[in-house]
């Protein structure tokens, strides 16, 4: 494995561990007794992403923008509707059956809710050892020894071996989920909102643990979250998603100190800052709500809510362009740079926009059921 550091991640010299090209995940909407398809949810709608070895790559965006769907698709849990996903340069579709099985142990995932991802009828020991029984030929004794050392690695002692998930706190359950995920020595660990269900003091402990585990196990992380403060502290690279598309990619420092895309700017400016002296420089309150992924706007998907949109923005969805190390899908970057408090307040004043009506929100609710 190449020794890739964060600073190099921008350059294209290294080979990505995981690569997605124009990946789509569409779900049919079926209605009526005949279950006829009446529409399509474009949950992920053409994503390019490169995950380099050693990265902690965060995928951020508001709920429903397609983060979890993208992660599940990248994990190979779901076949993409379109596009190519490659692991170390080989497309998933070119892998043989045994290579696919081998890949399953290379990529593991930790979910937001440990409670629902751990089988309540099994002991912690059984939960952590299951992948080892399934994917290795190790003896029961070897596996037991391994489980004890995994428990130790995640800060739980061997005394947790015989306990059940319900006897553990949320933070301890998340440690078990992490132990299980690293049991097969994966290369890539996917984290779907790993600390969102936890209390602040527990959150910082799990983040510290993930940091240590990453070094010890030489891992690459792909983390999905809506919590930008966590991303700021934890990630090396960030991709920002809006309505099934990535609209900006940059290193973490670049993204937070100098966001380029108007949506990224709005998202960052909305995060409450734990500092009463803080005054927002780029204070942008977005009008309206996120449109339906079954009925995305034409052109730039963000144009109905964008404070600097022009007529041209409704025509074509801009391609990625490079701006000072950021990859951004926006045709008006110089204007976006000036999106200061003056324009921000103009945006504040505008109300709900016409696209978001009751029917849209009703459909949103229905989808969530």
């Amino acid at each position: 494995m190449s020794d890739f550091t964060h600073a190099d991640a921008d350059s294209t010299t290294g080979e990505p561990l995981l690569q997605a090209r124009d990946v789509k995940q569409h779900y049919p909407i079926k209605e009526g007794i005949l279950r006829r398809q009446t529409g399509t949810v474009r949950a992920v709608d053409g994503v390019d992403i490169d995950i380099y070895p050693g990265d902690t790559h965060a995928i951020v965006g508001e709920s429903g923008c397609g983060k979890s769907t993208l992660l599940e698709t990248l994990l190979g849990l779901e076949e993409p509707t379109d596009g190519t996903i490659s692991y170390e340069g080989t497309p998933f579709s070119d892998l043989s059956g045994s290579e696919k099985r081998a890949l399953k142990s290379e990529i593991q995932i930790v979910f937001q809710n440990p409670e629902s991802s751990l089988d309540p009828r099994n002991t912690i020991g059984q939960i952590i050892s299951e992948p080892l029984h399934l994917h290795t030929d190790a003896s029961t004794r070897e596996i037991d020894a391994r489980v004890v050392s995994l428990l130790d690695d995640v800060g739980l002692g061997p005394r947790y071996y015989g306990r059940y998930p319900h006897e553990l706190s949320g933070g301890q359950q998340q440690r078990v989920a992490i132990a299980r995920a690293i049991s097969l020595n994966p290369t890539l660990l996917f984290l779907d909102e790993p600390t969102s269900a936890l209390d602040v003091s527990v959150q910082s402990k799990i983040l510290r643990l993930l940091d240590e585990i990453k070094d010890e196990y030489d891992l690459t992380y792909v983390m999905v979250t809506h919590d930008l403060s966590v991303v700021r502290h934890f990630a090396t690279d960030v991709s920002v998603m809006y309505l099934g598309n990535i609209i900006e990619k940059a290193t973490t420092d670049a993204l937070f100190t100098d966001p380029k895309h108007p949506y990224t700017q709005a998202l960052i400016s909305a995060v409450p800052v734990p500092n009463p002296h803080h005054t927002a420089e780029n204070d942008i309150t977005l009008p309206g709500t996120v449109p339906e992924p079954s009925d995305p706007p034409s052109g730039c998907r963000f144009h109905p809510r964008c404070p600097i949109a022009t007529d041209e923005c409704a025509e074509d969805f801009p391609d990625f362009e490079s701006h000072e190390g950021h990859d951004v899908r926006c045709i008006r970057i110089p204007e976006a740079e000036d999106l200061g408090s003056t324009e921000g307040s103009a945006v504040n004043a505008s109300g709900e926009n016409s696209r978001s009506g009751l029917s849209a929100t009703r459909r949103e609710e229905a989808r969530q059921e």
């Binding site: 909305a270 309150t285 009703r362």
Partner: protein, 324 residues
């Protein structure tokens, strides 16, 4: 302006369960002045929601207020009859919950719910109540109040429902609003909008708010005063500037360093060792001593004086707010 509106004095609330008594509140002191926004912050299980429930005398069974007093405008709430208390709920104090569905009935239209509750609590005719409902829906920036009134809760998104529940709470014309994690379930951009709207109205009407949250970013943006609660007691109280610039209690200091701050990524996140205590058997002396980096032997046996909840104070044997 600095007239006390709500005064909580030495409040004890217990839950008598099969496996022992949970001492959820162990002597809470807190004053909310007229026009003041007070943030109550602490980790899960520290007693935030039980404080809110106690103020409204709606503590879940098997809980009971065991000791202490709560006064609103000088009136003793704990000695009111149940019907007197019903008048207080809705007229004087209203509550906004994390899950707006708690205050919205799924089977009735927004119109019938708003007219019923506003009309009942303010003795208004349906027509008067409807115009109040429309006024507040407009004030919470709802695009088309008439259409919202005709809709049912399931037809609205989470952010819209929360704005409707805020409009309903404001429509009561209360003196005090208790908001328990009202924006926690919302996306940041929606949270920002809801907070801005709420803050504007509260300022215009000079309302008092008790804002319960675990999010220190939200209190920094919204509140004037902060009460930090740990193991059923307020361990530090002060203005937002006192708490963020001059924290005295070791728990407050640790808490501030354990939260990720989008502005200060260079600082390493600190970790508070240990876990929150089990309130069936809270630690002796200072309840924070098993986790406190500054603990001294006396902290295990001596309970520090409680803060009075009026000026910057910390409940600590070692650190004094005045020295900060």
């Amino acid at each position: 302006m600095t007239q006390p509106l709500l005064e909580i004095d030495d409040l004890h609330t217990n839950f008598d369960t099969n496996s022992g008594t949970v001492n959820a509140l162990r002597g809470v002191n807190l004053t909310i002045n007229e026009g003041e926004r007070v943030g109550l912050v602490g980790e899960s299980g520290s007693g935030k929601s039980v404080t809110a429930q106690s103020i409204l005398r709606l503590v879940d069974s098997p809980g009971r207020i065991a000791d202490g007093s709560i006064t609103l405008n000088g009136r003793d709430l704990l000695s009111l009859s149940e019907s007197g208390m019903q008048n207080v709920r809705g007229r004087d104090i209203t509550m906004i919950f994390q899950d707006p569905s708690t205050s919205l009935d799924p089977v009735y239209s927004i119109r019938s719910q708003m007219i019923e509750t506003i009309g009942h609590n303010r003795n208004m005719s349906d027509a008067e109540a409807e115009s109040v409902a429309i006024e507040y829906l407009e004030r919470v920036d709802m695009p088309n109040p008439e259409r919202i009134l005709d809709s049912y809760p399931h037809e609205l998104s989470g952010g819209m429902k929360q704005r409707v529940s805020i409009a309903m709470a404001l429509g009561f014309d209360p003196d005090l609003i208790i908001a328990d994690e009202p924006t926690t379930a919302l996306d940041v951009t929606v949270q920002k909008k809801v907070m801005e709207i709420f803050k504007d109205i509260v300022e215009e009407e000079d309302l008092s708010v008790l804002w319960i949250t675990h999010n220190l970013g939200v209190v920094a943006e919204f509140c004037d005063k902060i009460a930090v609660i740990y193991a059923g007691e307020v361990v530090e109280y002060g203005s937002v500037y006192d708490i963020f610039d001059r924290p005295a209690h070791p728990y407050t200091r640790e808490l501030l360093q354990t939260i990720p701050n989008i502005e200060r990524a260079d600082e390493e996140l600190r970790v508070i060792e240990g876990t929150v205590p089990n309130m069936r058997d809270p630690p002796s002396g200072c309840a924070f001593h098993p986790r406190c980096p500054d603990a001294e032997p006396r902290c295990e046996t001596t309970r520090p004086d409680r803060v009075d909840g009026r000026e910057h104070q910390a409940s600590c044997l070692v650190h004094d707010a005045e020295d900060q």
